[in-house]
């Protein structure tokens, strides 16, 4: 099980969450002061990430077969970059990070280590 409290320690973390294959939110933590975020927003965000991971998987499949350039498939994570915050997912786990403070590489490493429930 992903340790959401530990993910919330990532630089700039505003929320950490897990979701199922359909994109339904399972567990979540929201950092103090993360205005505008609630379970409804996170649930929609999870659906968005699952949908785009599926699209990216199709693209990676097509791209690799067509170009022979392997290394995209299977898609490990999808990230959405918003105006001030980003949402990164890996497997069934994700975080919302403030763009100005985010360390995306560290976040992906942390998610990869904890991402699969």
């Amino acid at each position: 099980m992903a340790d959401l409290d530990a993910l919330l320690e990532l630089p700039g973390a505003r929320a950490a969450f897990t979701f199922n294959d359909r994109g339904e939110l399972r567990e979540h933590r929201i950092a103090e002061g993360a205005e505008g975020l609630d379970a409804t927003v996170l649930d929609l965000l999870c659906h968005m990430c699952v949908a785009n991971t599926a699209i990216a998987t199709m693209q990676a499949r097509g791209w690799e077969r067509m170009t022979g350039m392997e290394g995209f498939y299977p898609i490990e994570g999808f990230g959405f970059v918003g105006l001030e915050w980003s949402a990164l997912t890996h497997g069934h786990c994700g975080v919302v990070l403030a763009n100005d403070e985010a360390d995306y590489e560290a976040a992906y490493r942390a998610l990869a280590a904890r991402g699969e429930p």
Binding site: M58, G62, R65
Partner: protein, 110 residues
């Protein structure tokens, strides 16, 4: 003219939008804001489907996918259907999708 589409069995709402996404007209069981949202969604969804059709065409090498003729999203009780710059919401239990899609295609040329 979109009133004729609303007269089809099971059609709950219908909208027309411009190529730039602007709302032109709408009728049915949604308020004005709902109709505008439907038009906006249909415009954005149309562009997304165009992008996906481009990719399908590119990856499969098959002709005939682009430009896409329209799209349908089927939910448990309702569906959303669109052809060109027209979109409608239909009741799955009442509507005949073939009839609706044909009518949308015809109305797109009005």
């Amino acid at each position: 003219m979109i009133r004729r589409l609303l007269a089809l069995d099971g059609v709950l709402a219908v909208c027309r939008f411009r190529d730039d996404g602007a709302f032109v007209e709408g009728l049915g069981l949604l308020d004005e804001e709902g109709l505008r949202r439907l038009a906006r969604f249909a415009h954005d969804y149309k562009r997304m489907v165009q992008g996906n059709a481009d990719q399908l065409s590119m990856f499969t090498g098959m002709p005939g996918w682009t430009p896409p003729g329209g799209w349908m999203v089927r939910g448990r009780a309702s569906s959303v259907c669109s052809v060109a710059n027209l979109v409608c919401i239909v009741d799955n239990g009442e509507a005949n999708l073939k009839e609706v899609m044909d009518a949308l295609a015809e109305a797109a040329h009005w």
